[in-house]
């Protein structure tokens, strides 16, 4: 009897957030059989669900256009994005917004004209409000996917399935293997092309606004497939995520709405544990800078009781307060739990938000593995060392659509590669081994919290060599001592621990990659700040940190960044 179930499809898409869903629509539209795999229920899992309410772009307004937009992206990303890739995003921005508008996403408009809001890091207003946030965007895309589902054979959605390995032979992808945990069976998806759209590792950090499933599946899968990953040290934190009281912990309280970007004097403000306003004193900066300042307040002993700071709008005028709560998406939920920010300061702290590093792609979403494409948060050379507000959705829609296009084109011209039974056999053994009872077996959730604790300590927004090296030691210790003991109860259907056991492996890989890159980048750039190298080094050519498995070993190297349009001043200067 076969130990797995085999399914054939032309294009396999892993991850059904906004990027994966968009890729599926374009792929199916071109006529190839498309399978969309997701770790949870489609439409209610993935990071898009918790996404904020901003969509970035460029607009028909004086002094705007793709050129100006690109300059904002490059400068705010501290010259670490590949500019040919970022240029694609700027060039395609208007089309992507038009598409979303067409499928029913509600944007801020005056009459019928888009109404963008100002955001830090952009010379002119660049962010539309998305009514209903990421959930609304995802539901609109899901409705579109359902149209193709009702046309049999176009899109198949496989829910409750975690992919554990990509299947690669001679540098060529031929599918993926994973666990359908609803049924408790191993699935092999045999395909001509694969799109990796399961990015995001925010849940590796103790304070995160990401859902629990965002533990970095995409990066671990890419790593073991031989993909080149870049800039894994770049983890964007969102500065103002609620920290306390407990029921609102993790809730985003947008500083884009609570602080005034055009006129910081009218507030709100960030206030430290000593009740001193420390931000903004003059202007509101980008997320990397705010995160740095907030972390510094806490590190230097001026934090709030739960090691954060306060977001304070209580000092604002009554009319300003009403303006803020009128536009603030999370006000209703705060009120539900008895928190009225008009009357009380709110404890907030930077939370892991977007993983900026990931698979290196070219302008047609290809990775270095033939037939393997990537899009959305899974990629690592789109934004650089900081991401502008609203630019995640832009990324998912531009590169999701393009991945769908190029992967389906590839699949149409490709031949089937035969399945390598020995590879599959190995992975079946791996996945099934977790169900064996083990003497001194440990639960995956215990090991997961160990990893989260160590990442919080060694890879916080302010880092240093000793800390990162301590972290690496702990990762190696967990790999040697805990990982072999991880097991799950012997239950087939919907076994949470079985899924989490696979996730432990992915988390360890991610923690290791982030640590290695953080150690290698001996400078401070964007979201990566090294106490022992507190300057940004533009005297040397700006480089990507690169991670790739070679002959079974994780190797680190560097590669120059593509700078076809803008170059920084050749100097070694302050980090911000």
């Amino acid at each position: 009897m076969k130990r797995y179930e085999l399914e054939k499809t032309d294009v396999l898409i892993i991850g059904a957030g906004a990027a994966g869903a968009r890729a599926a629509i374009v792929s199916a539209d071109s006529g190839v059989k498309t399978t969309l795999v997701t770790k949870g229920p489609f439409g209610i899992s993935g990071i898009t669900v918790v996404g904020f309410d901003g969509y970035g772009g460029n607009f028909e307004q004086p002094g705007d256009g793709p050129e100006f937009h690109l300059e904002d992206i490059v400068r705010s990303g501290k010259y670490l994005c590949d500019q040919d890739i970022a240029e694609v995003m700027a060039n395609e921005a208007q089309n992507s917004i038009k598409y979303c508008d067409q499928i029913g996403v509600r944007f801020s408009k005056d009459d019928s004209k888009f109404h963008p809001y100002p955001t830090p890091g952009c010379k002119i207003p660049r962010m539309l409000k998305v009514f209903g946030g990421g959930y609304a965007l995802l539901i609109a895309l899901k409705k579109k996917v359902e149209e193709y589902q009702s046309d049999p054979g176009k899109i198949e959605v496989k829910e409750d399935t975690i992919i554990s390995r990509l299947l690669v032979k001679n540098n060529q992808i031929y599918g993926a293997i994973g666990l359908d945990f609803r049924k408790g069976i191993i699935k092999v998806f045999h395909s001509k092309a694969v799109i990796l759209a399961a990015g995001g590792a925010g849940y590796l950090w103790p304070h995160s606004d990401c859902p629990p499933e965002s533990i970095g599946d995409a990066y671990s899968l890419a790593l073991h497939a031989g993909v080149k990953l870049v800039n894994m040290e770049q983890q964007l934190f969102y500065p103002t995520i609620a920290l306390f009281p407990q029921p609102v912990r993790g809730l985003e309280v947008s500083y884009e709405w609570c602080l005034n970007i055009e006129n910081p004097k009218v507030g709100g403000w960030l206030v430290n544990g000593k009740d001193e306003i420390f931000y903004p004193l003059k202007e509101v900066g980008t997320r990397d800078y705010m995160t740095h300042l907030m972390t510094k307040e806490v590190k230097e002993g001026r934090g709030s009781p739960h090691q954060g700071v306060y977001l304070d709008i209580t000092r604002c005028s009554e009319s300003r307060k009403e303006e803020i709560v009128g536009i603030l998406h999370s006000h209703k939920r705060l009120l539900k739990f008895g928190v009225d920010i008009r009357k009380q300061k709110l404890e907030v702290a930077p939370a892991a938000h977007t993983t900026l590093g990931g698979a290196k792609i070219d302008t047609e979403n290809r990775t270095n593995i033939n037939g393997l494409f990537a899009c959305g948060e899974a990629t690592g050379n789109v934004h650089g060392a900081n991401r502008l507000a609203g630019h995640s959705y832009l990324d998912t829609q531009v590169f999701g659509a393009r991945a769908g296009k190029f992967a389906s084109e590839f699949a149409r011209g490709a031949d089937w590669i035969s399945v390598d039974e020995s590879q599959i056999e190995d992975e079946c053994n791996n996945v099934l081994s977790y169900l064996k009872s083990k003497k001194d077996g440990v639960s995956p959730s215990k090991v997961k919290s160990k990893i989260v604790q160590l990442v919080g300590k060694s890879l916080s927004p302010i880092r240093n060599k000793n800390g990162i090296e301590e972290g690496i030691k702990e990762i190696n210790f967990i790999r040697r001592n805990d990982l072999p003991l991880v097991n799950a109860p012997n239950v087939k259907e919907f076994n949470n621990d079985w899924v989490e056991a696979i996730e432990v492996r992915h988390m360890l890989d991610c923690a290791e990659m982030v640590s290695m890159c953080a150690l290698a980048r001996e400078e401070s750039r964007g979201t990566h700040y090294r106490e022992d190298f507190p300057y940004m080094d533009n005297e040397q050519p700006v480089k990507h940190t690169v991670i790739q498995i070679k002959k079974g070993k994780i190797e680190l190297s560097t590669e120059p960044v593509n700078m076809i349009k803008f170059k920084p001043l050749k100097e070694k200067g302050p980090a911000f």
């Binding site: 229920p41 439409g43 209610i44 859902p211 499933e213 029921p247 993790g250 539900k336 239950v491």
Partner: protein, 124 residues
């Protein structure tokens, strides 16, 4: 100091094996209020690893990933609080959702019709 206790009665059911659902009682020592989702996660992680539930979704009251039937009402477990001393009954979401195992349900069995089946007004 003696800690306070939350008593949770959880419906267990494996359609492949069991003829009918049964209730299992769990006692959780705590001095703090928590969300029902937090309570279920605690029970799974510390008391009974065979308990099935959905650990996905927004945790913020936006989606319905954590929909459960709590004290007879379909509610988001992330948005419903339980405090020390409480007795609480937790079942899989009712109103047409198919149970996969224990508290995990198949959302595709219901969501296409557009009906979310939440008894909204009683959430925290």
């Amino acid at each position: 100091m003696k800690k306070n206790i939350i008593t949770a009665k959880i419906e267990r059911f494996d359609p492949k094996k069991d003829k009918s659902p049964r209730n299992q009682e769990y006692l959780v020592e705590t001095d703090e209020s928590m969300s029902v989702l937090g309570l279920v996660k605690y029970i799974h992680d510390h008391l009974d690893r065979t308990l099935a539930y959905r650990n996905v979704g927004c945790y913020l009251g936006v989606c319905i990933g954590c929909l459960m039937n709590i004290n007879g009402k379909n509610l988001r477990a992330c948005s419903t609080t339980v405090k020390p001393g409480d007795k609480i009954s937790i079942q899989p979401a009712k109103k047409g959702y198919t149970v996969i195992r224990d508290l995990s349900v198949d959302f595709s069995s219901k969501e296409k019709s557009g009906a979310k089946g939440i008894d909204e007004s009683t959430e925290a």
